[in-house]
């Protein structure tokens, strides 16, 4: 009986845990909001019926129909009006913003070339801070070397850095990801604490942006630790950071990182049925590939496809690697 109760408790705990997984939490919030919205509309219809239409029309179907029609009419008109307004406003805003962005981009380019001073940009962006931010964000993504350093000396960039640091801690997932991505592109040591904090973000995209940002920082001290922690992070994070990690981890270090963690997983476990059947052969092939100089996941996959994986069928082996990459956390 105690055993049964314990099992039930574990089941209940698992159920509660499952309910609060990110995608379920989102669904729950949407469900509550939708219920409130439908409830409010029903309440409005009910109020109209009891307070007004039922007094005017004696027949119940008629008063019900009128109250429903009134609510439907109100909502439909609001929808049409809201939709048209949204469209007109966004068209107008994008037109204005496009003109301002072009002007600011030209000014920032002139500043990087040394033809204009920071004060002129500050003055020009006085009424269009958002456009300046957009312009700087685009430039950060494209510039490298001395041009990037020159851009980062702009006072507006310092202000933006502080804004992004604050934004990376609050706001919705999209805002947090944007802030963390921008901080990463700045390559500024002052953003390290905020980026490290973002490594713990529950949203994979934010976490990945933080990893990418930290790996791009030449002065970051805990690089090796971060690289080794990648094997334990989610698949999304590993996909989004694979290039940076491969760039950073070369030679022996990459071999330890990839072969050490992924190979073991690839050999030992995988949900694919063929893998169980071919486990011994796959294990032998993995070791053979490592001995032949496989230095990472990609090279393992490539070498296995090229038939260098010994006797194990390339397809099963590739599937096992993919399964291992997906199930890295387990």
């Amino acid at each position: 009986m105690v055993e049964g109760a314990r099992r039930r408790i574990v089941q209940a705990r698992d159920f509660v845990k499952r309910c609060f997984e990110p995608h379920r939490r989102g669904a729950l919030v949407a469900l509550i909001k939708a219920s409130v919205m439908i409830g409010a509309l029903s309440e409005l219809g009910w109020l109209l019926d009891t307070r007004y239409f039922s007094r005017r029309y004696a027949q119940l179907p008629i008063s019900l129909a009128w109250s429903m029609l009134s609510v439907i009419f109100l909502v439909t008109v609001a929808e049409v009006y809201g939709s048209a307004m949204l469209k007109l406003r966004s068209t107008r805003r994008s037109r204005l913003s496009e003109a301002a962005s072009l002007r600011l981009t030209a000014m920032v380019t002139a500043y990087i070339a040394g033809e204009k001073g920071p004060e002129e940009i500050e003055l020009a962006a006085k009424d269009s801070r958002k456009d300046l931010e957009k312009c700087i964000a685009t430039a950060l993504l494209r510039l490298r070397g001395s041009a990037l350093r020159r851009l980062c000396e702009l006072p507006a960039v310092f202000k933006l850095r502080d804004k992004w640091i604050a934004q990376s801690r609050k706001g919705d997932a999209e805002q947090r990801r944007y802030a963390v991505e921008q901080m990463g592109l700045l390559r500024d040591a002052a953003t390290i604490p905020a980026l490290e904090k973002a490594l713990l973000d529950p949203v994979g995209a934010v976490e990945a942006a933080a990893v990418r940002g930290l790996l791009q920082l030449p002065t970051y001290q805990k690089r090796d630790e971060l690289l080794l922690s990648l094997a334990g992070r989610s698949y999304l994070v590993r996909v989004l950071t694979a290039c940076e990690s491969a760039d950073e981890a070369s030679g022996v270090r990459e071999r330890e990182l990839e072969v050490g963690s992924l190979l073991a997983l690839a050999c030992a476990a995988g949900p694919v049925e063929e893998l169980a059947k071919e486990e011994a052969a796959a294990r032998a092939s993995c070791l053979a590939l490592a001995a032949q100089g496989a230095t990472g996941f990609d090279s393992l996959r490539r070498m296995s496809a090229a038939g260098e994986a010994g006797d194990a069928p390339a397809e099963a082996f590739g599937a096992s690697l993919a399964a291992a990459a997906r199930g890295g956390r387990t």
Binding site: K33, I38, L64, A65, E79, V239
Partner: protein, 478 residues
């Protein structure tokens, strides 16, 4: 001459039926409205699209899952070159296109060989799923690997299975050969698989009407409404089905349909459940329902999701006759899929699928058209013979037509929340007009056709490839 007692009795029975139907239509519309409301809150917040930096990282990442696009085609000489050309120009780092020619009687195969400079390939396309005989395999490697499988006619499901057998990728995407995928559509489709690689087994995207949109080089360059009212009605209908229904069902992992025109599946999982069933009429719905059935039976955690952002553009019928045939086929498919897996109905073992999605589909999607048609007939007859009062008739029309208008206009509003919305407010107003007008005649006709489809489905009428008059994607005037 009817005695007063009988007359009263008839009136009471009639009123009872009419009230029941009004209640039924009210409940069905309330559920639709609830799903639309869920869509409003879920569309924006639930899905975080990839940023440009993330797309760049995926392009360069060696871990990005590979995709095989499977394009079953039968007598598609008008549109196959454009759509395959479009598929070869998609922005994704690791994919191949597999066109399966299902014994076409027209020049589909010849046109493909000429256009893409195909050569005979020795690639083995045998696989675990049984299909009709494969005659020949053709291949091209430039710019993206294109594989064309020429096989004996066996139907759409059989063609997709041949494609799944031939595929060597982690994921397989089924795309109709008359469809155009947005250039960056694969990124967003693959995202749920990256977020939850262990459990995610299938993802569906949005299908929209391409009629009269500006298409150049196999890409939709300018989105706009059609000149045909029938196409616009269907545009609204698609918006309602995708942004309302599927978003809501997907949130609770109980989506029973992934459109056959645009669905991404994990290859190993699709093979595990036996691939598409060639004896089924609605093979797309049947596979998804089977996946639910299979994985719940096996107690394996799984997820089936819908993402609104990736869009597949497809030609919708502009002829009533073809639309009639299509809708009857869809309804037969629904009946067939639900009947095959009837064990799941109201079975608590199947969780939300068994207790909510399945009953919803049986009660509202399967039998809904019959009840609604009956409602219209009873109301008209009742009014003509003065069996029901005008007030009851007004209530019925309010519940069915006015509610329908609300649902359709809400769907158009939902379109504003997606990245692929109509850019021009005139188009949006046209759609709003279509959303209102479709409730006066079009929806009733569809309801009748669906009721016909239900009847044919119950009688067990078989089906083959759907016939569609293609207009092709030739560049239209801007």
């Amino acid at each position: 001459v009817i005695s007063p007692e009988v007359d009263i009795y008839v009136h009471r029975v009639y009123f009872f039926f009419e009230s029941g139907i009004i209640f039924y239509v009210f409940v069905i519309n309330l559920i639709y409205l609830f799903l639309v409301a869920l869509g409003v809150f879920a569309l924006r917040k639930h899905h975080l699209p990839f940023s440009p930096a993330e797309r760049d990282a995926i392009r360069r990442s060696p871990l990005t899952p590979s995709i095989s696009l499977i394009v079953p085609s039968y007598n598609e000489e008008v549109s196959v070159r454009d759509s395959v050309g479009c598929m070869l120009r998609l922005d994704y780092p690791n994919y191949e296109v597999i066109v399966v020619n299902d014994g076409s009687k027209d020049r589909t195969l010849e046109l493909l060989i000429d256009q893409f400079k195909l050569f005979k390939s020795a690639r083995s396309v045998a696989g675990p799923i049984e299909t009709k005989t494969v005659r020949k395999v053709y291949e091209s490697t430039e710019p993206v690997r294109l594989l064309v499988i020429d096989k004996a006619n066996g139907g759409k499901a059989d063609s997709i299975n041949a494609g799944i057998n031939a595929a060597r990728s982690d994921l397989v995407m089924v795309v109709d050969s008359d469809s155009l995928i947005e250039r960056d559509g694969l990124f967003e489709m693959v995202k749920p698989f990256l977020e939850d690689p262990e459990r995610m087994i299938a993802v569906g995207g949005t299908v929209r009407a391409v009629n009269d949109c500006e298409v150049r080089s196999g890409m939709v360059r300018r989105i706009r409404t059609s000149k045909s009212l029938l196409a616009n009605f269907q545009s609204v209908e698609y918006l309602r089905a995708f942004f309302g229904g599927r978003v809501g069902f997907s949130l609770f992992n109980c989506m029973l349909i992934i459109s056959g025109a645009f669905g991404l599946f994990r290859r190993d999982r699709a093979i595990e459940v036996g691939g598409f069933d060639h004896s089924s009429i609605g093979e797309d719905m049947e596979l998804v329902v089977r996946m639910h059935h299979y994985f719940i039976d096996k107690k394996q955690p799984y997820r089936i999701a819908y993402v609104a952002a990736p869009v597949c553009w497809t030609e919708v019928p502009q002829e009533w006759k073809i639309l009639h045939r299509q809708r009857k086929r869809w309804q037969r498919g629904t009946v067939d899929s639900l009947w095959r897996h009837r064990e799941m109905l109201l079975n608590p073992r199947y969780g939300v699928v068994g207790m909510f999605a399945f009953p919803y589909f049986v009660l509202f999607e399967m039998f809904g058209p019959v009840v609604e048609t009956l409602g219209y007939a009873l109301t008209v007859i009742g009014l003509t013979f003065h069996i029901i009062s005008t007030s009851v008739a007004i209530l019925f029309f309010t519940v069915s037509i006015a509610f329908g208008i609300l649902l359709s206009t809400s769907a158009v509003l939902l379109d504003e929340l997606t990245p692929c919305r109509f850019p021009n407010w005139r188009n949006t107003l046209t759609l709003f007009a279509a959303a209102v007008l479709e409730n006066f005649g079009f929806r009733q006709v569809l309801t009748l056709w669906r009721a016909q489809g239900l009847w044919e489905g119950i009688r067990g009428k078989k089906t083959s490839w759907g016939v569609m008059v293609r207009r092709g994607f030739s560049p239209s005037k801007p």
